[in-house]
Symmetry: C2
Subunit: 183 residues, 2 copies
Amino acid sequence: MKYCSDCGASVTLRIPPGDTLPRHVCASCGTIHYQNPKIVVGAIPEWGERILLCRRAIEPRHGFWTLPAGFMENAESTAEAAARETLEEACARIEVGDLFTLISVPHINQVHIVYRATLLDLDFGPGEESLEVALFEEKDIPWDDIAFRTIALTLRHYFEDRRRGSFGTHNASIALPPAATVP
Amino acid sequence: MKYCSDCGASVTLRIPPGDTLPRHVCASCGTIHYQNPKIVVGAIPEWGERILLCRRAIEPRHGFWTLPAGFMENAESTAEAAARETLEEACARIEVGDLFTLISVPHINQVHIVYRATLLDLDFGPGEESLEVALFEEKDIPWDDIAFRTIALTLRHYFEDRRRGSFGTHNASIALPPAATVP
C-alpha cells in the first residue's frame, strides 16, 4: 500500500498512538488502513462413500486437486460462502453441514474454514476455475496431487473421523513449510 | 474506496471479466481491490466455575460487558489472536483450548470466533480498552449489559453446554436485528 484509498495522498508505515503494530497511515487525512487476514471457505461434498474434488484450472496449483473453496465475500455467512464456491467451481448444489476444520495459515495471512456437506444430486461439472470435477472413494484420493496443505489436512481428518464413526471439529495452524525456513 | 492504494489514481466500481460482483478497479494500473470480511477472535477465560469478562472503555458499546476479543492481525493464528486480545484487554494470561463458536455477521462483514480458555493465574486487570475486568459465576452474568449479540449467544451456548456436561463447537449466522429492517 502506497496511497490512501480515501484521499489519494501518500501513506507512511508507522505505529499509531495507542497501537502496538505499524499501520499504513495517511499523511494527509490521517486515515489508518488496517490489513487483516482473509477467510477461505470450502466444503466436503459427500455422495454416499464418495466425496467431490475439483482439479484446478487456475494458478496457484494449476492441475492439482482440491475441495471446492475460495475467498469469502462481504455480506455472506461462512456457510453461504461454502455453498457459493461449490456452485461456482463444481456447478454442484449442496446442503452445508457441520463445521469441520478451521486452519490458520499465518505466513499468508489466511484462515481456511471447511464444512462437511451433502451433495444434493449428481448434476455437477467443472466451473470456470476447474478443469474437471469428480467423486472419489478414499482409496482413489490423489494424495500426491492435492493442491494445498490445508486441504490435505482436512481430508486426512475426514477419513480418520469417518473410520472412527464420529466427526469432530478440527482446529489447527499451519506453519511455513520446513524447506522455506532454510536461510 | 476512491483511490488506488497502489498507484493513487481513481478507482471505479465495476464487475471485472470472469467475476460476478462489482469490485473497485483502478482505471490507471488495472489493480482489482477486493474487500473481504474481517475476523474477530476472542476467548472465554475460565477460572473454576467463573469466567472473565471485560467492561468496554471504548466505542462501540462503551460501558457494556464482553469477552476479551478483537480483530485478528496478519501473521498470527486464530488461537494466538485469542491469547493476544486477552492479554491486551484484561492483562490476563490464558491457555487457549477448544474452538467454541464461529458466528458470521454478514451485515457488518465480520466473522466472530471464540475459544474456550483456561486462565493461568489471577493476576489480571483492565487494559487500555477496558474499564474493569472481573470473574463472574453464571448467576451473576450481566445479561442485559452484554455488548454484542455474538458474545451473548456464545455465553448462552457456554452455560447450556456446561450444564449438559459436554462442550461442542457452535456455528451460526446472525442476521440484521429485526428493528433495523423496519423501513
